[in-house]
Protein backbone atom coordinates (compact mmCIF):
# COMPACT_ATOMS: atom_id res chain seq x y z
CA UNK A 1 0.00 0.00 0.00
CA UNK A 2 1.45 3.34 -1.01
CA UNK A 3 1.19 6.21 1.42
CA UNK A 4 -1.13 8.02 -0.98
CA UNK A 5 -3.51 5.04 -1.08
CA UNK A 6 -4.11 4.64 2.64
CA UNK A 7 -7.10 6.96 2.63
CA UNK A 8 -8.58 5.36 -0.49
CA UNK A 9 -10.76 2.24 -0.44
CA UNK A 10 -9.17 -0.95 -1.76
CA UNK A 11 -10.90 -3.83 -3.51
CA UNK A 12 -10.87 -7.56 -3.60
CA UNK A 13 -13.02 -10.22 -5.24
CA UNK A 14 -13.25 -13.01 -2.69
CA UNK A 15 -15.33 -15.83 -1.31
CA UNK A 16 -18.83 -14.55 -0.53
CA UNK A 17 -18.77 -15.55 3.14
CA UNK A 18 -15.41 -13.98 3.94
CA UNK A 19 -14.07 -11.98 1.02
CA UNK A 20 -11.22 -10.39 2.95
CA UNK A 21 -10.33 -13.44 5.01
CA UNK A 22 -7.03 -15.24 5.03
CA UNK A 23 -6.66 -18.62 3.41
CA UNK A 24 -5.80 -21.34 6.01
CA UNK A 25 -1.99 -21.66 6.19
CA UNK A 26 -2.18 -25.33 5.16
CA UNK A 27 -3.84 -24.38 1.89
CA UNK A 28 -1.67 -21.37 1.06
CA UNK A 29 0.51 -21.73 -2.01
CA UNK A 30 3.07 -19.26 -0.64
CA UNK A 31 4.15 -18.35 -4.14
CA UNK A 32 2.65 -14.91 -4.59
CA UNK A 33 4.66 -11.74 -4.84
CA UNK A 34 4.49 -10.63 -1.22
CA UNK A 35 4.07 -14.01 0.47
CA UNK A 36 6.45 -14.67 3.34
CA UNK A 37 9.21 -17.08 2.35
CA UNK A 38 9.33 -18.32 5.95
CA UNK A 39 5.54 -18.68 6.17
CA UNK A 40 5.30 -16.58 9.32
CA UNK A 41 2.40 -14.43 8.11
CA UNK A 42 -0.21 -14.55 5.41
CA UNK A 43 -1.04 -11.85 2.90
CA UNK A 44 -4.35 -10.58 1.59
CA UNK A 45 -4.00 -9.04 -1.84
CA UNK A 46 -6.09 -6.00 -2.65
CA UNK A 47 -6.38 -3.75 -5.68
CA UNK A 48 -6.63 0.01 -5.92
CA UNK A 49 -9.48 -0.26 -8.42
CA UNK A 50 -12.50 -2.56 -8.44
CA UNK A 51 -11.85 -3.29 -12.13
CA UNK A 52 -8.33 -4.47 -11.31
CA UNK A 53 -9.63 -6.81 -8.62
CA UNK A 54 -12.07 -8.30 -11.10
CA UNK A 55 -9.47 -8.65 -13.84
CA UNK A 56 -7.16 -10.41 -11.41
CA UNK A 57 -9.60 -13.24 -10.70
CA UNK A 58 -11.21 -13.48 -14.11
CA UNK A 59 -7.96 -13.65 -16.07
CA UNK A 60 -7.55 -17.40 -15.72
CA UNK A 61 -10.95 -18.02 -17.30
CA UNK A 62 -10.18 -16.39 -20.65
CA UNK A 63 -10.95 -19.17 -23.14
CA UNK A 64 -7.76 -20.64 -24.56
CA UNK A 65 -8.64 -20.89 -28.23
CA UNK A 66 -5.63 -23.03 -29.04
CA UNK A 67 -6.62 -25.65 -26.46
CA UNK A 68 -10.25 -25.59 -27.61
CA UNK A 69 -9.22 -26.04 -31.24
CA UNK A 70 -6.93 -28.91 -30.32
CA UNK A 71 -9.72 -30.55 -28.31
CA UNK A 72 -12.14 -30.35 -31.21
CA UNK A 73 -9.54 -31.61 -33.66
CA UNK A 74 -8.54 -34.53 -31.45
CA UNK A 75 -12.01 -35.55 -30.26
CA UNK A 76 -14.21 -34.69 -33.23
CA UNK A 77 -16.77 -32.02 -33.98
CA UNK A 78 -19.14 -33.29 -31.28
CA UNK A 79 -16.54 -32.46 -28.64
CA UNK A 80 -17.75 -28.86 -28.64
CA UNK A 81 -20.92 -30.02 -26.89
CA UNK A 82 -18.87 -30.86 -23.78
CA UNK A 83 -17.42 -27.36 -23.51
CA UNK A 84 -19.11 -24.93 -21.09
CA UNK A 85 -21.35 -22.39 -22.76
CA UNK A 86 -19.86 -19.54 -20.73
CA UNK A 87 -16.39 -19.10 -19.30
CA UNK A 88 -17.69 -17.38 -16.17
CA UNK A 89 -20.33 -19.66 -14.74
CA UNK A 90 -23.34 -18.85 -12.62
CA UNK A 91 -21.80 -20.77 -9.72
CA UNK A 92 -18.60 -18.77 -9.91
CA UNK A 93 -20.62 -15.57 -9.74
CA UNK A 94 -22.63 -16.86 -6.79
CA UNK A 95 -19.51 -17.80 -4.86
CA UNK A 96 -17.74 -14.44 -5.21
CA UNK A 97 -18.39 -10.91 -4.12
CA UNK A 98 -16.57 -7.68 -4.77
CA UNK A 99 -15.58 -6.29 -1.37
CA UNK A 100 -14.35 -2.87 -0.44
CA UNK A 101 -11.71 -2.53 2.24
CA UNK A 102 -10.68 0.48 4.22
CA UNK A 103 -7.15 -0.06 5.43
CA UNK A 104 -5.95 1.57 8.60
CA UNK A 105 -2.29 1.37 9.44
CA UNK A 106 -2.09 1.74 13.19
CA UNK A 107 1.03 3.08 14.80
CA UNK A 108 2.74 4.21 11.64
CA UNK A 109 2.58 7.66 10.10
CA UNK A 110 2.52 6.80 6.42
CA UNK A 111 3.82 10.10 5.20
CA UNK A 112 7.01 8.91 3.51
CA UNK A 113 9.57 10.88 5.51
CA UNK A 114 7.89 10.22 8.85
CA UNK A 115 7.23 6.56 8.14
CA UNK A 116 10.88 5.96 7.41
CA UNK A 117 12.02 7.82 10.52
CA UNK A 118 9.55 5.93 12.69
CA UNK A 119 10.54 2.61 11.19
CA UNK A 120 14.18 3.20 11.94
CA UNK A 121 13.43 4.39 15.46
CA UNK A 122 11.18 1.46 16.32
CA UNK A 123 12.95 -1.43 14.71
CA UNK A 124 16.49 -0.26 14.29
CA UNK A 125 16.39 -2.04 10.99
CA UNK A 126 15.24 -1.59 7.44
CA UNK A 127 11.81 -3.07 8.15
CA UNK A 128 8.89 -1.45 9.90
CA UNK A 129 6.07 -3.56 11.25
CA UNK A 130 2.59 -2.23 10.95
CA UNK A 131 -0.68 -3.59 12.22
CA UNK A 132 -3.24 -3.61 9.46
CA UNK A 133 -6.92 -3.42 10.29
CA UNK A 134 -9.51 -3.84 7.59
CA UNK A 135 -13.14 -2.94 7.54
CA UNK A 136 -15.59 -3.68 4.76
Amino acid sequence: VNAEQVDQPLWRVGYREDPLGFVPPELCAWNHRFDDLHRRFRTVYLAGLAETALREVLADFRPNLSAIAEFETAMGSEAASELPSASITATWREQHVLARANVTLEGVDMRPDRALALAKRRTGSRVASAKVAMRY
Binding site: V23, L27, A29, N64, Q95
Partner: protein
Protein backbone atom coordinates in the same frame (compact mmCIF):
# COMPACT_ATOMS: atom_id res chain seq x y z
CA UNK B 1 -14.25 -19.98 5.78
CA UNK B 2 -13.18 -21.25 2.37
CA UNK B 3 -15.10 -24.08 0.79
CA UNK B 4 -12.01 -26.26 0.50
CA UNK B 5 -11.13 -27.11 4.09
CA UNK B 6 -7.91 -28.66 5.31
CA UNK B 7 -9.61 -31.95 6.22
CA UNK B 8 -11.29 -32.11 2.82
CA UNK B 9 -7.96 -31.49 1.13
CA UNK B 10 -6.41 -34.34 3.11
CA UNK B 11 -9.29 -36.68 2.25
CA UNK B 12 -8.92 -35.72 -1.39
CA UNK B 13 -5.19 -36.49 -1.30
CA UNK B 14 -5.99 -39.88 0.19
CA UNK B 15 -8.71 -40.72 -2.35
CA UNK B 16 -6.60 -39.57 -5.28
CA UNK B 17 -3.82 -41.98 -4.44
CA UNK B 18 -5.85 -44.97 -3.23
CA UNK B 19 -8.97 -45.24 -5.40
CA UNK B 20 -8.80 -47.77 -8.25
CA UNK B 21 -8.01 -46.06 -11.53
CA UNK B 22 -11.27 -47.40 -12.97
CA UNK B 23 -13.26 -45.40 -10.40
CA UNK B 24 -11.14 -42.36 -11.13
CA UNK B 25 -11.84 -42.68 -14.86
CA UNK B 26 -15.57 -43.17 -14.23
CA UNK B 27 -15.71 -40.03 -12.10
CA UNK B 28 -13.95 -37.96 -14.76
CA UNK B 29 -16.19 -39.34 -17.48
CA UNK B 30 -19.27 -38.44 -15.48
CA UNK B 31 -18.13 -34.95 -14.51
CA UNK B 32 -16.37 -33.80 -17.66
CA UNK B 33 -17.83 -35.98 -20.39
CA UNK B 34 -16.18 -38.87 -22.20
CA UNK B 35 -14.34 -36.79 -24.78
CA UNK B 36 -12.97 -34.27 -22.34
CA UNK B 37 -11.84 -36.99 -19.94
CA UNK B 38 -10.06 -38.79 -22.76
CA UNK B 39 -8.48 -35.56 -23.97
CA UNK B 40 -7.27 -34.74 -20.44
CA UNK B 41 -5.60 -38.14 -20.20
CA UNK B 42 -3.86 -37.71 -23.55
CA UNK B 43 -5.83 -40.53 -25.18
CA UNK B 44 -6.58 -40.52 -28.89
CA UNK B 45 -9.38 -43.10 -28.67
CA UNK B 46 -12.43 -41.59 -26.98
CA UNK B 47 -13.78 -44.99 -25.98
CA UNK B 48 -10.62 -46.01 -24.17
CA UNK B 49 -11.67 -44.08 -21.07
CA UNK B 50 -14.81 -46.22 -20.86
CA UNK B 51 -12.76 -49.40 -21.10
CA UNK B 52 -10.78 -48.38 -18.02
CA UNK B 53 -14.01 -48.16 -16.03
CA UNK B 54 -14.90 -51.82 -16.63
CA UNK B 55 -13.99 -54.33 -13.94
CA UNK B 56 -12.23 -56.53 -16.47
CA UNK B 57 -10.94 -53.54 -18.43
CA UNK B 58 -7.31 -52.78 -19.26
CA UNK B 59 -4.98 -50.84 -16.98
CA UNK B 60 -3.73 -47.54 -18.38
CA UNK B 61 -0.02 -47.02 -18.77
CA UNK B 62 1.65 -45.16 -15.91
CA UNK B 63 1.64 -41.66 -17.42
CA UNK B 64 -2.04 -41.94 -18.37
CA UNK B 65 -2.91 -43.19 -14.88
CA UNK B 66 -1.08 -40.22 -13.36
CA UNK B 67 -2.97 -37.80 -15.61
CA UNK B 68 -6.26 -39.40 -14.63
CA UNK B 69 -5.42 -39.14 -10.93
CA UNK B 70 -4.29 -35.52 -11.24
CA UNK B 71 -7.39 -34.74 -13.28
CA UNK B 72 -9.55 -36.39 -10.63
CA UNK B 73 -7.98 -34.33 -7.88
CA UNK B 74 -8.47 -31.09 -9.80
CA UNK B 75 -12.01 -31.89 -10.93
CA UNK B 76 -13.18 -32.90 -7.46
CA UNK B 77 -11.45 -29.94 -5.82
CA UNK B 78 -12.89 -27.30 -8.12
CA UNK B 79 -16.19 -29.14 -8.39
CA UNK B 80 -16.64 -29.06 -4.61
CA UNK B 81 -16.02 -25.32 -4.45
CA UNK B 82 -17.98 -24.51 -7.63
CA UNK B 83 -19.32 -27.10 -10.08
CA UNK B 84 -18.34 -29.20 -13.09
CA UNK B 85 -19.04 -26.36 -15.53
CA UNK B 86 -16.59 -24.11 -13.71
CA UNK B 87 -14.03 -26.92 -13.70
CA UNK B 88 -14.34 -27.24 -17.48
CA UNK B 89 -14.07 -23.48 -17.99
CA UNK B 90 -10.95 -23.40 -15.82
CA UNK B 91 -9.37 -26.37 -17.60
CA UNK B 92 -9.74 -24.55 -20.93
CA UNK B 93 -8.78 -21.12 -19.59
CA UNK B 94 -5.65 -19.11 -20.37
CA UNK B 95 -4.00 -19.48 -16.99
CA UNK B 96 -1.71 -16.71 -15.81
CA UNK B 97 -0.21 -19.00 -13.16
CA UNK B 98 0.76 -21.50 -15.86
CA UNK B 99 2.43 -19.15 -18.32
CA UNK B 100 -0.86 -18.55 -20.11
CA UNK B 101 -1.24 -22.22 -20.99
CA UNK B 102 -4.56 -24.03 -20.55
CA UNK B 103 -4.40 -26.46 -17.61
CA UNK B 104 -5.86 -29.28 -19.71
CA UNK B 105 -3.11 -28.90 -22.31
CA UNK B 106 -0.44 -29.24 -19.64
CA UNK B 107 -2.22 -32.16 -18.00
CA UNK B 108 -2.59 -34.21 -21.17
CA UNK B 109 1.11 -33.99 -21.95
CA UNK B 110 2.47 -34.32 -18.40
CA UNK B 111 4.76 -37.29 -17.77
CA UNK B 112 6.50 -36.57 -14.47
CA UNK B 113 5.25 -35.61 -10.97
CA UNK B 114 6.97 -32.22 -11.26
CA UNK B 115 4.81 -31.39 -14.26
CA UNK B 116 1.60 -32.03 -12.34
CA UNK B 117 2.54 -29.94 -9.29
CA UNK B 118 1.98 -26.41 -10.68
CA UNK B 119 -1.35 -27.41 -12.25
CA UNK B 120 -2.66 -28.86 -9.00
CA UNK B 121 -1.37 -25.86 -7.07
CA UNK B 122 -3.21 -23.50 -9.41
CA UNK B 123 -6.41 -25.52 -8.99
CA UNK B 124 -6.06 -25.43 -5.21
CA UNK B 125 -5.68 -21.66 -5.32
CA UNK B 126 -8.97 -21.41 -7.18
CA UNK B 127 -10.74 -23.85 -4.87
CA UNK B 128 -9.47 -22.15 -1.72
CA UNK B 129 -10.33 -18.70 -3.09
CA UNK B 130 -6.71 -17.60 -2.86
CA UNK B 131 -6.06 -14.71 -5.23
Amino acid sequence: MPVLTVSEAEQLDHDTTTLPVGEIAAYLQEQLGQRMAAFLAGLSDVKQIGRYTREDGPEPREAVAQRLRAGYKITRMIGAAYDAKTTKAWLFGTNTRLDDEAPIELLRSAETPEQFTPIIRAARQLASFEA
